[in-house]
């Protein structure tokens, strides 16, 4: 994977691995690592196994570790299910709107906190940190009443704004970290060279925060994509997301485990793909200190 293949990481790895380690120890460590990974993956494997089984194999008292007659039926069933595609599209729209909005709005605030000294800065940091800890579920009824007054219930916009606010504090805080990681000397040098403040922003701060923006969006993406209680309360089934769909699929006259597991896989795919795509940035974010040093 990209993490391990990046040359920077390799240098660090080699340095650590070679220091005072016995061969037998390494074999044991490798064995534990493999066993650990297999255990971690077992539930994932079991979903796949279930999702590819025909209905009669799913509900068998003696579970088999491999589908005897592998089938895509559960997947086609999920896709054909009422509202599945609709809710998938809704989920994508809502997530993208919320993440993009949070990045734009949050970036501005992060810039202010990281690069300016002003009266009230501390108070704003306090607010940003504190609101992350508010139990959002408790706000459901007042939130609903408020959005209803603004005619924003049963609309993707209303949910998008809600999600935006949900992920905003974290976005501000994390971007603040990335922005203040950019050496101030760069700004200053550019200003001396005759750049305006706006140019400093467009030519220096924004490009250098790029990886940070991507890394921050992961969190927002996961939060917005995985949320189901708010959207389920605010919107009707045709305006919900896949997670809410999944929740409802489980209780119509008995659980249809096969399509449920297939649906679960489809639901997870965007997140997995997203993870793999920005995987390098996760590592970049986590090791940003080393880059800058």
């Amino acid at each position: 994977m990209v993490v391990a293949a990046s040359p920077r990481r390799k240098r660090v790895d080699d340095g650590v691995v070679t220091v005072g380690r016995s061969k037998a120890g390494t074999v044991v460590a490798n064995a534990i690592g493999v066993i650990f990974s297999v255990l971690m993956l077992f539930p994932v494997y079991w979903v796949l196994n279930t999702a590819f089984k025909p209905a009669d194999e799913v509900l068998a008292l003696t579970p088999t570790f491999w589908p005897e007659h592998p089938t895509f039926a559960n997947f086609t069933s999920a896709f054909k299910a009422p509202l599945f595609l609709q809710d998938m599209l809704n989920g994508l729209i809502v997530t993208v709107l919320a993440v993009a909005g949070a990045l734009v709005v949050g970036f501005l605030a992060a810039l202010a906190i990281a690069r300016f000294s002003f009266y009230g800065r501390k108070a704003i940091i306090l607010v940003v940190l504190a609101v992350q800890l508010v139990p959002f579920l408790a706000l459901l009824i007042p939130l609903f009443l408020m959005l209803q007054t603004a005619s924003l219930t049963n609309s993707l916009i209303g949910v998008s704004i809600t999600y935006l606010v949900l992920i905003l504090p974290y976005t501000v805080w994390t971007l603040r970290g990335f922005i203040s990681g950019i050496p101030r000397e760069l700004d200053e040098a550019a200003l001396i060279d005759g750049c305006t403040r706006a140019q400093v922003f467009w030519r220096i701060i924004l490009p250098l925060t790029g990886p940070g923006l991507v890394a921050t969006s992961v969190y927002g993406f996961i939060q917005a994509w995985n949320e189901f209680i708010i959207i389920n309360t605010l919107n009707s089934p045709a305006k919900q997301n896949l997670m809410a769909w999944l929740l409802q699929n489980q209780t119509t006259r008995g659980t249809a485990w096969g399509p449920l597991m297939a649906g679960a896989i489809i639901t997870s795919i965007p997140v997995v793909v997203f993870f793999l795509l920005i995987q390098r940035n996760i590592a970049t974010g986590l090791t940003a200190g080393a880059v800058k040093g």
């Binding site: 509900l59 054909k80 009824i141 209803q148 389920n232």
Partner: protein, 437 residues
Amino acid sequence: MKRQLVAVAALAATLLGAAACGSNDDDSPTTSASGPVDGKGKTLKVWLMVDAQSAWKGVVDDASKRFTDATGAQVSVEYQQWANHLTKLDATLAGSDVPDVVELGNTEFPKYVFSSAFAAINPGDYENSGTWLQGLKGACDFEGKTYCVPYYAGARVLIYRTDLFKAAGIAAAPKTYDEFLADADKLQTAKKSDSKFGAVYMPGQYWYSAMSWVKSTGGDIAKQDGDKWVGQLSQPASVQGLQRWVDMVKKYSKADPTKNENDQAGIFAQGQSGMFYGNAWELGAAEQIKKDPNDPNSALVDTKVKGKLAAAPMPEVPSFLGGSNLGVTEKSQNKELAAQWIKAFTDSTSMAGLIKANALPNATALLDKAATDNPAIAPAALAAKSSWFPPNAEKWADVEKGNILQTMLTDILTGKKSVADGAKWADDQMNTTLNES
């Protein structure tokens, strides 16, 4: 001239509707479904539960079509899931953009009727209202007025394996409760070598079943004493019924004491038990499963028990009468139209469609017809005639939502509490919940 009359009627209806919103709940006018209503350009919002979508969508569409032909109004039906419909309903009814017609389970209705969520209707406007099933209608009555219309019902029956009965030397379905136990014994003996086999499949949180047993010995769940509700489960007759159920479950059932009845047909289909207690339609659900559960027209796959099942009323045990009602929301802007739609959806034509789809009709007058028209639901139609329903208390839905009875049953079955202690605990919980202001 005629058009003018219609316009006046529509105007009057609008004014009435507006007045109803502003007025106090006690003297709200009754919504009529008799006169002609011009609904041109209007769209009626209807919330039905998902059962209608999966089992009798055709009936819904047909009723809506007849409604549209008569009134000119369009219908938009939204299907709700049982898991979370109440939370959503609460939030939606709190606002102003509400559905005009809402379906709720009969045991869920009183809470909403007491909270003025529904408008009063005039029963005489609806077909068969004279013989509406009491178990459904009871939930609609409040202070002399009727706030909802019975929709359909379900009654529970004994479903058993004919092949295993034969192998164990049992000729026919049990006629008495003692026979039922004796048959269970015979099944258990015949399959002694199979450690996974249980003569009866009875999941532990199946409270509709346990309460039926309570009723079978003359017990009760709760009753009204003046303006207070008093839990009755710790009364001797109720304890006797509970004990009877617990003894039977412990002896013959291998089912999970923490599961409810949702999945029972699928589990029974694995062939590990001889009998279960379920809705009429669950017989079919056990014999054949949909190849694609999300497709209403899916091909069916036979299970291990295909062609080996039969149903009969559970002897000496009165059935819980489950089902749904339909109400016109108090905040609806189209009350008269809503009432008209309900009228079309609960008339004899629609009921015939429901019977075909293995649901019981909303009136006793139709039960016999149901039994002859559709043999599959004959035992259930019979069972519905001796049925019971939970206390018609404002807060009964909270007892269900609070899992009080389910928790008691699991605690008793797993030995955490004795029957007497469990019943006492449940009574205390119900007394608190039902009498809360």
